[in-house]
Symmetry: C2
Subunit: 205 residues, 2 copies
Amino acid sequence: MSFTEYPSRLLENAVNEFASLPGIGRKTAFRLVMNLLRRDSEEVRKFGETIMKLRDEIHYCKICNNISDTEVCSICSDHKRDKTTLCVVENIQDVMAIENTRQFRGVYHVLGGIISPVDGIGPSDLKIDNLEERVKTGGIREIIFALSTTMEGDTTNFYLYKKLSKYDVLLTTLARGVAIGDELEYTDEITLGRAIANRNPYHQC
Amino acid sequence: MSFTEYPSRLLENAVNEFASLPGIGRKTAFRLVMNLLRRDSEEVRKFGETIMKLRDEIHYCKICNNISDTEVCSICSDHKRDKTTLCVVENIQDVMAIENTRQFRGVYHVLGGIISPVDGIGPSDLKIDNLEERVKTGGIREIIFALSTTMEGDTTNFYLYKKLSKYDVLLTTLARGVAIGDELEYTDEITLGRAIANRNPYHQC
């Protein structure tokens, strides 16, 4: 069933808006709009307002570029966080993923992307200058490159390394190896090779 | 990756709103919100406004209950439509599906649901009284029951039949049979049995 004609322009506009979102086709968009129509007027108004507020009132932390309700995000303004250890990530999803591990007590720097010539994203499109500025200001002891193990991630790592190696900071990357729960038989050879080369002394957990 | 903590309450609210929609999980909701965040402020405001307008300004046609921008929908107010033939459907999706066939020139009556004791939907929850009122007013020659071939659809058909058979109108239902493109081998026996019983004289298309 392809909808060629909608009985209402308001309905059609709403379907078009939802269908403009990634992974939402016109049929799904229509289903979502019908769901909203069945709700209370007040509830739907809140939905619309939340979306409008989101874009207009949200801040990007002026220190680390993480999303924030305030000028400086809750991590950067937390006195208990270790400001000498900086973790460089691609986006805020990665900040949240690392925060969820509860293993990291340092601070972050969100690049807002990754160098990808294919997509036309160069170093100047990312918050790399701000990163160098933070390093120059001093007080940072270690920078952890926590980017994806893709060609784009490696390219960005290399670019950051060239930019930052002249400063007196320790540059590290996340450990690479066989993921917990993975079977060796199905692990790709590059990962397995690296895991053997970087083997650790055995200790019982 | 399950997000336990969001860096921003505005972000969290927006994710919650999208995740309240059917079939949208928290991860998808987050992806949609991130997409909105990358857009122009003006574009996102339009998105929010469209949703708010949708619920507040949309009308249900006072004659047939179809969704409409005006008090009377474009189908009911179209002088070229045959007002003597009424097609009873469950919802506006069904109106749009039938309109897309371009085979029907009559008018509709949208019940707004189907009798389903399991879901607690009884006749009084549907626009059945309005339908009877339209029939009483006169001028209707034929009523087509165009409901799903489910138990709920059959129940609703039977209820409507009992209500309306006392009036001088022809009551019909959609033809049931083997769907175009279906192979007999995989057609269920009830459908196939009905298709044999209701066989038609052969004519070349």
